[in-house]
């Protein structure tokens, strides 16, 4: 279906989310922190990024900002994932350039719907899907 970059530092959450995405037919790339996320986004050019916000070294906010600043990776949609359920977190993630926002624990059908929508909105991907 799509190549998804999953950025998550927590081993269990990373494993669980990766397996569930794979079950739905996605190719999953893994990054354990913000720095790896920026690198992989450059090298692998994923279709979409699921970004946990509280990360070691370079956190999700910074990584998002860096990815969105680069012309090469700017078009990649990013969904922020955070355990902070506060409205201010949602605003902050949209402010740094995230395309959508979801809270943990992830409700998978809802996340899947968000992924589908963002992929459809992206004309380049739409093209890829249709072919």
């Amino acid at each position: 279906m799509a190549r998804i970059l999953l950025v998550e530092d927590n081993l269990m959450n990373r494993d669980m989310l990766a397996r569930r995405l794979v079950r739905r037919g996605h190719d999953v790339l893994i990054a354990k922190n913000g720095r790896e996320a920026i690198e992989l986004a450059q090298i692998e050019d994923p279709d979409l990024i699921l970004m946990d916000m509280s990360l070691p070294e370079v956190d999700g906010w910074e990584a998002t900002r860096a990815i969105k600043e680069s012309t090469k990776t700017r078009a990649i949609p990013i969904i922020a994932l955070t355990a902070h359920a506060l409205q201010s977190d949602r605003d902050r993630s949209l402010e740094v350039g995230c395309d959508d926002f979801d809270t943990k624990p992830v409700k998978f059908p809802r996340l899947q719907a968000k992924i589908d929508m963002l992929l459809q909105e992206n004309p380049e991907l739409k093209e890829r899907y249709s072919s």
């Binding site: 569930r20 355990a83 359920a85 201010s88 943990k104 624990p105």
Partner: protein, 560 residues
């Protein structure tokens, strides 16, 4: 007023006696030298006897004043003595010129006797005695001028008496007036002293210090004030008020007094021993003398201390409350991370067991998912409460079509009605239309109320009625479930108080739903109430204004 003349004469008795005694002593000697030998012994005896008698009388009355009623009888004795001497002398010598003695006696009576009745008695008695002696003597033409002389002397005596009497009466009136005046003055002074004492006692009996000052100098105060500052009253009179105020505040007080005629202020006072304490001063200018100020002073040190303790306690309580809410917010975040893994893996297991048709594992993992979802609801509710209490919950106001929203809510909640086999009925009034509100919060409140209703009702009926009321909308959620005991009603809308702790186990839920609903309702300017009958069911009534207004710092966004 009695114009009695006895006192005036009383003091004259003794000196007049001595003078007359002296005069008759002189006559005794002059009789011996002048009179012929046949008369001289008789006249010397009479004059000498009179002199002795008068000397004794003078001596006696000098030590023992004549009682007032006897003053005129004793004075009449002088007339008797003088008259007797004069008439005997006249009788023995038979010379008309000696009638002059009688004339002098008559004039003296006019001068001496102020009492008119005694004056008349003495004049008449003298005349009778004179006429009696005269009738026993031979008259010649030589006597004629002296008879007229007696008549003239009588007239002079009467005039003298009248003039003296008149003067005396006038003086008496003046003296009485003066006496009255001094009595009145004394009375006024006495009353003034009494008043002063009464008011001073009154001022001293208060619990507050009272001070009068002029040009910043104390000129009077009550004992309470003096004691408050550790002084005797006399020590503070005349001293400037600034002696009793901490020097740092002098200019403040000066400015205050220059600009304000009447008011209350608090200031740090200085005790005689140098310690400082708080006083409250209520002062004003009074119209006693120009620019006199009166001030009532109260020691508010203990009040201040209590206030400080209370403020510290309040701050500590507020800090503790904030810390608690912050803790809850952090806690809910910390709980979410492992819960994400638990739910995720449970769902994964559920999906995988479904693929492999492992029925038992499917069922078990489903139970983990249900329990986790419940746990998540609890964490979300706690976070909501914490956000409301730390004022971190933000509102987004927008216009929405109420019937549409209600239908959406109903379809969300529909599966839960079926769990307890409840029937659901929606009554929507025709005039229900547009509302300006936070959509998510309204949705949350309605879901809470409907959830609650179906949670405590089995095989029953849940009714949601929406109608417009008082420029707002009324949402009534009625059920015929277990109802609420009256003693639980008071805390129904408080956090963490599900009516019965056992209900938490039996019916699930955190007991936070109503607390959140009530708080959201309060913030949005609405009201919520409940009518209930144990065993019969409950009706929760939520009213919200059609146009919700919220204080600006709580508004997240406004969509028009």
């Amino acid at each position: 007023m009695k114009k009695t003349s006895q006192p005036a004469l009383q003091n004259a008795i003794s000196p007049v006696s001595f003078w007359l005694a002296g005069l008759y002593g002189f006559f005794t000697i002059s009789h011996w030298l002048v009179l012929s030998a046949d008369i001289a012994p008789i006249m010397m005896a009479i004059a000498g006897g009179s002199a002795c008698f008068l000397a004794l009388l003078g001596g006696y009355t000098r030590r023992h004043p004549v009682p007032l009623p006897l003053v005129y009888p004793v004075a009449s004795v002088f007339t008797l003595v003088i008259g007797f001497n004069s008439l005997i002398h006249l009788w023995l010598v038979q010379e008309p010129y000696l009638v002059t003695n009688i004339g002098l006696l008559l004039i003296s009576i006019g001068i001496f006797f102020l009492d008119t009745r005694w004056f008349v008695v003495n004049i008449v008695a003298t005349h009778i005695a004179f006429i009696a002696f005269m009738s026993a003597m031979d008259f010649s033409n030589d006597w004629q001028p002296f008879i007229f002389f007696v008549i003239e002397a009588t007239m002079v005596s009467v005039i003298a008496h009248l003039v003296r009497r008149r003067n005396f009466d006038h003086l008496t009136v003046l003296r009485h007036q003066a006496e009255n005046r001094s009595e009145q003055t004394a009375l006024v002074a006495k009353l003034a002293t009494e008043n002063e004492q009464r008011f001073r006692r009154l001022a001293d009996a208060t619990f507050e210090g009272i001070v009068l000052y002029q040009d910043d100098k104390i000129f009077d105060a009550n004992l309470v004030l003096a004691n408050m500052f550790g002084y005797q009253l006399h020590e503070i009179i005349g001293r400037p008020i600034y002696d009793f105020i901490t020097p740092q505040l002098w200019s403040n007080v000066k400015d205050y007094l220059n600009s304000v005629n009447e008011g209350t202020y608090e200031v740090i006072a200085q005790h005689k021993d140098g310690t400082e304490f708080f006083i409250e001063v209520r002062g004003r200018i009074i119209s006693y003398r120009p620019l006199v100020r009166i001030a009532v002073v109260r020691d508010i040190t203990s009040y201040k201390e209590t206030e400080q303790v209370l403020q510290r306690a309040k701050r500590a309580a507020e800090e503790a409350s904030l810390a608690k809410s912050n803790f809850l917010a952090n806690m809910s975040h910390e709980l979410r991370t492992p819960l994400t893994a638990i739910m995720g893996y449970a769902e994964l297991i559920h999906e995988e067991s479904e693929d492999q048709q492992l029925k038992q594992i499917m069922n078990d993992s489903h139970k983990i998912i249900i329990a986790s979802q419940h746990l998540l609801t609890i964490i979300n509710d706690i976070l909501d409460i914490a956000k409301i209490e730390t004022q971190r919950l933000r509102f987004t106001l927008s216009k929405l079509h109420v019937p549409q929203l209600v239908h959406e809510v109903c379809s969300t909640v529909q599966p839960r009605f079926e769990t307890n086999n409840n029937k659901f009925h929606l009554k929507m009034a025709d005039d229900v239309n547009i509302m300006y509100v936070d959509e998510a919060k309204l949705r949350q409140m309605l879901v809470n109320l409907l959830d609650n209703a179906t949670k405590f009702t089995h095989n029953g009926q849940i009714t949601l009625s929406v109608s417009s009321r008082d420029e707002g909308y009324l949402f009534d959620v009625a059920d015929n479930g277990i109802g609420i005991e009256s003693d639980k009603l008071a805390t129904l809308f408080e956090a963490f108080t599900q009516a019965d702790q056992s209900h938490t186990r039996k019916y699930g839920g955190t007991g936070l739903g109503l607390a959140i609903t009530r708080r959201l309702c309060d913030i949005m300017g609405g009201s919520i109430s409940v009518e209930t009958e144990p065993g019969q069911g409950s009706t929760f009534s939520l009213w919200l204004p059609a146009h919700v207004q919220i204080s600006n710092d709580l508004i997240e966004a406004v969509e028009t």
